[in-house]
């Protein structure tokens, strides 16, 4: 009987040794079929090997090359056997809509994509008018997953109604936020879903050309996306869309290591071959974007959520969620975390449920001291705030933001003054230089935190003033939101800032 193995080729699996496991399988069982997939998102089990037994995929993990012989000899009795993968509680309790195929199929296998529900959304879209398509996105309640939470349907409508000889769909795959990797996992695991979402966006708005602006720190994602674009052209998912006569094509463009290029207007400048400085708004990119033409700029996950919305209907998507946060969100559990990885669920779970129940607390086993939600511009939360439900308005109300939905967990050894200092330092390194409060303020912020550390009694007041100036006087959220992590750390953990004072005295 021929055996079929599945093993992720995702960067996180490779970083944990998946390639050596693949080599061991090929050596020990040369006749077995080995399919490299995306990741199921359970990083603590990587490399997570799956073996098909009686039509069910059984998991083993974390697997080392030396385990292969034993797994071949007695799969179910192996100490690393996890049973059917989809029964693992972390996986079973998710609502995988956007990530439905990630970890399941070979990423650039067009036939497998079609067999697992791919192209259904595009087919339906091709039968609809552009106005009806935009209505569908509006009805789904989808909001931008890049951070700002702007309603995707409204953005598309602006571009649809704009008059121009050329319009563009630009996918923001800059994913610079620490603690986030959903875009990467989607692009490495199911790139056709993103391409299909972009094609649908193209039909709905009248755009025939797309770009993915992908950060250079993601070489694996770049390779997979490039391969997927070629396969998509062959398979009718790009070019003449499924033979309908509607045209849409796209290119992958690589960033050059500037965090600020995730900001949409800086990204457009970069894509045009300019320095990645932020543009003042208006004009909106929807009206004057890439090359001055109407442009949809959307995050990877926003666009990759579009195919499921069209395949299963807006109502099925909007059924999930809480308040004005509809649908699902791929939460990324990162940092000092026991069960780290990606967990897609409807909005509305509490922060505490995510951190303690799903993520299992810290990897070190020590108490959770703080979590940072939403990347380097997001606020810190302490355990007494863990009843905050995961939603845009709910987090805003608690003085934070969900951003790109990364949660970075810290144990009680974390030095929050050090983290506040790093936030300022990062802002100084990555500032595009356009506004003084950001460019100069961040450098001064680092100085003030160093002075607080050495016990200077007036430094705190100066720091707080500085944060206010940055918040009110910055053109974009890099300068404008850096005060979030700084001030939340200061408010929640005053002892971390005061203890130094005593030590210095």
């Amino acid at each position: 009987m021929s055996m079929t193995f599945y093993l992720p080729k995702d960067a996180s699996a490779r970083a944990m040794g998946a390639d050596a496991v693949a080599a061991a399988i090929t050596k020990a069982a040369p006749d077995a079929k080995l399919i490299r997939t995306g990741t199921r998102g359970m990083t603590w089990l990587e490399p997570l090997l799956e073996l098909e037994l009686d039509g069910t995929r059984h998991g083993f993990g974390p697997v080392e090359p030396g385990d292969i012989a034993g797994i071949l000899a007695d799969p179910q009795g192996h100490p690393k056997a996890l049973g059917p993968v989809t029964d693992i509680p972390f996986f079973k309790t998710q609502t995988r809509l956007t990530f439905a195929r990630v970890g399941v199929i070979a990423p650039t296998d067009m036939a497998a994509y079609g067999a697992h529900g791919g192209l259904t959304g595009l087919r339906r879209a091709l039968s609809m008018s552009a106005a009806a398509m935009v209505e569908e996105v509006k009805a789904s309640g989808l909001r931008g997953r890049g951070g700002a939470g702007f309603p995707t349907g409204i953005k598309w409508d602006t571009v649809r109604l704009a008059n121009a000889d050329q319009k563009y769909i630009v996918c923001n795959a800059d994913e610079g936020d620490s603690g986030t990797f959903a875009d990467r996992m989607l692009m490495e695991g199911d790139p056709f879903t993103l391409i299909e979402g972009m094609a649908i966006a193209g039909i709905a708005t009248g755009a025939t050309k797309g770009y993915v602006y992908l950060r250079s720190e993601y070489p694996d994602a770049i390779a997979t996306m490039n391969a997927a674009v070629i396969a998509a052209r062959k398979g009718g998912l790009l070019g003449d869309l499924l033979g309908s006569g509607q045209q849409f094509d796209m290119e992958i463009r690589v960033g050059a290591g500037a965090y600020v290029c995730g900001e949409e207007t800086s990204l457009l400048n970069s894509l045009e071959g300019k320095r990645g400085v932020v543009r003042a708004k208006p004009p909106l990119p929807a009206l004057e974007g890439f090359m001055g033409k109407p442009t949809v700029v959307n995050n990877v996950i926003s666009l990759a959520s579009v195919p499921t919305i069209f395949a299963n209907g807006a109502a099925a998507y909007a059924d999930q969620g809480l308040g004005r946060s509809r649908g699902t969100i791929p939460v990324q559990l990162a940092g000092n975390v026991k069960f780290g990885g990606l967990f897609e669920a409807g909005f509305g779970m509490t922060l505490g449920a995510l951190v303690n129940d799903i993520a299992g607390g810290t990897a070190t086993g020590r108490p959770v001291k703080a979590v940072q939600v939403g990347g380097p511009l997001g606020a810190y939360f302490a355990p007494h705030q863990f009843d905050t439900p995961f939603g845009y308005e709910e987090f805003d109300g608690a003085g934070g933001l969900i951003g790109h939905a990364g949660i970075t967990i810290y144990d009680d050894s974390a030095d929050m003054l050090g983290m506040a200092r790093f936030a300022m330092e990062f802002c100084a390194v990555e500032s595009c230089g356009k506004c003084t409060p950001c460019r100069i303020g961040a450098v001064r912020g680092v100085e003030m935190l160093d002075r607080m550390k050495s016990g200077d009694p007036v430094a705190q007041e100066v720091l707080e003033d500085l944060c206010e100036t940055m918040r009110d006087g910055s053109l974009c959220a890099l300068g404008g939101f850096t005060p979030y992590p700084v001030l939340s750390a200061l408010r929640l953990f005053p002892d971390d800032f005061a203890a130094r004072k005593e030590a210095a005295e």
């Binding site: 070489p219 894509l271 890439f290 940092g335 780290g340």
Partner: protein
């Protein structure tokens, strides 16, 4: 004066990118891939071909962290300095690596073998701390794993 072969190689890169919308970043990536850095005299050649100012090309080259004006060592180690990696002791791993190699961030060892660069997130935040040795990714990195990867890369 740039040597003729460099001029020809850059000319070939420029022609290969004709017809792209916003070709400058793809061109610079290709030039760096070819030469390991952006040679000074590539700037006027690119500017002339794209019909833009030299200052503009220079401004772009210097804006982005990726583009080098000096060659890197034979191997490049990138160590993540961002939050999720800090939460797992990434700073200590980085400090130990820099001390052992006897260099600073962005620096190259005296024998020209290894350049160490900071990176702000590799998207490996659920198996932090993370690093990269050339194109090899390392999760849960520690001194031993980093050493092993460097030894393997040099072999």
């Amino acid at each position: 004066m740039p040597d003729a072969s460099q001029t020809d190689r850059i000319a070939a890169i420029l022609t290969a990118h004709d017809g792209l919308e916003g070709p400058l970043l793809p061109i610079l990536h290709a030039v760096q891939e070819e030469f390991g850095l952006i040679p000074d005299d590539a700037v006027p050649q690119i500017a002339e071909h794209l019909n833009i100012g030299r200052a503009e090309v220079h401004g772009v080259v210097t804006f982005y962290h990726d583009f080098r004006d000096a060659p890197a060592g034979r191997h490049v180690v990138k160590i993540c300095r961002a939050e999720a990696c800090k939460a797992m002791g990434g700073d200590a791993v980085a400090a130990a690596a820099l001390a052992k190699l006897g260099t600073e961030w962005h620096g190259t060892t005296a024998n020209g073998k290894v350049t160490v660069e900071p990176v702000y997130c590799l998207g490996l935040c659920s198996c932090a701390p993370a690093a990269m040795v050339d194109d090899r990714l390392i999760g849960r990195v520690d001194a031993g794993k980093l050493d092993a990867a460097l030894t393997e890369a040099s072999a």
